[in-house]
Symmetry: C2
Subunit: 399 residues, 2 copies
């Protein structure tokens, strides 16, 4: 499922990188391309739905499966890494679509071909292909974290280079309150490239925060990509329509193939089997030992058929002092659930595992898995609404 | 190991596709870029040598290993798919190198940037990345043959499109004897694209004919890529220098990373463990049943420590008549070794398995594995010499 997240966030990243000034597509060509894109996306959607059942035995044979821990038939093997199927179908759809936005140049070869725009398409597909490969390699090989930080950075190089070549702006607009000191705009130069590169790495890994329950990650990908598509549609008539058109061409097939994956996940009613970690948990190395992977998922209670927050237990003095202080402050604000002075000697403490899923269970109480997925996806929708609120009414106040 | 072959042949394919007219690099910039390329390739070589031992346990944990069937310690696990490491290092090297050939455009931004050439670089990396992904997926999932035929065709689409966009020629030069009828050149139009697409699929799969003995496939990749590099170097001063320069930039890092893989293979003295099939065997479906995978490799004789040709046994009437006739003719020419009228009822026959490796063993007698690899690689060198002979003295006669 991590694949989905990687590709989603890569796509979202692309929105930032688009910079070319060469595209001057007539509106009717643009709409025709988008119609073809939608038709191809629908084909891609059904290809995902049909392909997953066909290939799932191959994945199981290759050891890419999980046990359905939350059901009575514990031995049932559930194929993992199905995001690879939707990712591959997405790439194939994009390869087949690649010529469509440039169709009028093929028919009327007298006009100069927009090589710079074409390079942007190619480089975005190259980055997506790299991340798909990396995601699959991670599913198979359980890559170490250093690879997951270094490889996306390297894979973002071609994107950054195309941005540089196409004279992408490195100027940011300064918020109104600061303009008296800094001016209307600020050219942050190389810092902009560092920011974009870090964004690629951050996005690639951060979406894992929702890993753990099936259907949730692909659902999240759908909510985010649908939000991006909505944003692009709203802005399609604006003065930067070409960038939004480019983004739409990439995001619609992604939305469709992710939908295929999501429907497959939901229809097979797969419960928790995905043992991916949550990012902060791993990054901060809070608990180096004594915390098997399973604990990072919510706990399934067979009696109530509900999920409960899972809890980690550790010796108080095994945690560095500053970390403990931070945990105490967070606990006071209700973000984590820290209990100290436990055990016979009072030197043990417990904490809910630091994933968003556990936090939600802590706030809402035990939930059925399907309900939990719905709630968390609603939260994602609200986040998108917040983003739109920041982008539209709020941005007008500050910019 | 299949990965190596896929990438090699993809690279060789690229030689055909290069078509752009935009590159006008000063000689000293060209040489500087090539020097940087060589230095980066050396770094890539040592990266492969260092990375393989570091990651091999990850591959073994993921089930990507083979048993060393030809040694006494049969239980020793030998990591497979190490071509993925060299392939990934190759891609990373190319990503880091990507800006170098365009360095003078970054310094002197007044000259127009050669977007078309840059798109060629991007699309070649995109195809290589796709094939690397496909090769890894095949190693993990044992893809069916239809995927291995369809997916490379789709992955070659961006290459073909760039060729089309850059107004690549579809004209072939007619050999002298035919010129009286056809003329000096012939524009074969769309057929040229079909030819290139089929070449990509053919090359991707055909190199497997050498699969089966470790070090042989990577050795073959080295011989072929060294031949291409030699050809490019010879032609670097010619009138199509820019194409050969482009090819060199891609092939030198590939040669270096393949060398890294080859040295690793040889130094660990891994014997046969790679159960990949030979292409013709699979394609012609001669023997549908009764032929376990192992038989397609040469047979290891522990007494003599040598490899012997492996033999398939089947009922004579299980083979279609026309196929049998072809086999009989081939047997008369000594290309296959067919024995008929065996078994109690005389209705069985045996044939050596139709791989080049078995054919070599049939002609040369049983061989030590290291010796066999050397002989087969020499054969590959001779093939390259033959190609040069066809290209240089012979082509002058016909063109």
């Amino acid at each position: 499922m991590e694949l989905v997240s990687i590709v989603t966030e890569k796509l979202l990243g692309i929105g930032v990188y688009v910079s070319c000034d060469q595209l001057s597509v007539p509106i009717k060509d643009m709409l025709l391309s988008l119609c073809i894109n939608v038709v191809m996306s629908v084909v891609g959607f059904s290809a995902v739905i049909r392909t997953i059942p066909l290939v799932s035995s191959m994945f199981i044979d290759a050891g890419l499966f999980g046990r359905d821990l939350c059901k009575k038939e514990r031995d049932k093997k559930v194929p993992e890494s199905m995001g690879m199927v939707s990712g591959s179908v997405y790439l194939i759809t994009m390869f087949l679509f690649l010529g469509v936005p440039f169709g009028h140049h093929f028919i009327n070869r007298s006009s100069p071909f927009p090589h710079a725009v074409f390079a942007e398409y190619l480089t975005s597909l190259l980055s997506i292909c790299c991340m798909l490969f990396l995601g699959f390699a991670d599913d198979v090989l359980n890559l170490k974290w250093r690879y997951k930080l270094v490889l996306p950075t390297l894979a973002s190089l071609p994107l950054l280079m195309v941005y540089y070549i196409n004279m992408g702006s490195t100027t940011v607009v300064v918020p109104k309150p600061l303009r008296a000191w800094i001016g209307l705009t600020l050219n942050i130069g190389p810092l902009y490239y560092i920011y974009m590169s870090m964004l690629a790495v951050f996005c690639t890994n951060a979406i894992n925060i929702y890993a753990g329950i099936n259907g949730l990650e692909s659902g999240q990908a759908i909510v985010i990509s649908a939000s991006v598509a909505a944003f692009n549609l709203v802005e399609l008539g604006g003065y930067q329509s070409k960038f939004h058109y480019f983004s739409l061409c990439l995001i619609i097939p992604f939305l469709a193939t992710s939908l295929g994956l999501y429907f497959y996940n939901r229809s097979t009613q797969q419960f928790i089997f995905n043992f991916l970690y949550s990012t902060p948990f791993k990054l901060f190395h809070l608990f180096c030992t004594g915390c098997p992977r399973l604990h990072r998922l919510p706990r399934y209670n067979p009696d109530s058929d509900k999920l409960e927050p899972s809890i980690a237990e550790f010796k108080t003095n095994a945690v560095r002092k500053p970390v403990l202080s931070v945990l105490r402050i967070l606990s006071r604000f209700g973000v984590v659930h820290l209990k100290e002075g436990l055990g016979e000697d009072g030197d043990m403490c417990t904490i809910n595992n630091l994933t968003l899923i556990n936090l939600a269970l802590l706030k809402l109480g035990p939930q059925h898995e399907g309900m939990l997925t719905t709630i968390l996806l609603l939260l994602q929708v609200l986040s998108s609404c917040l983003a739109f609120f920041i982008r539209y009414p709020l941005a007008d106040l500050f910019f």
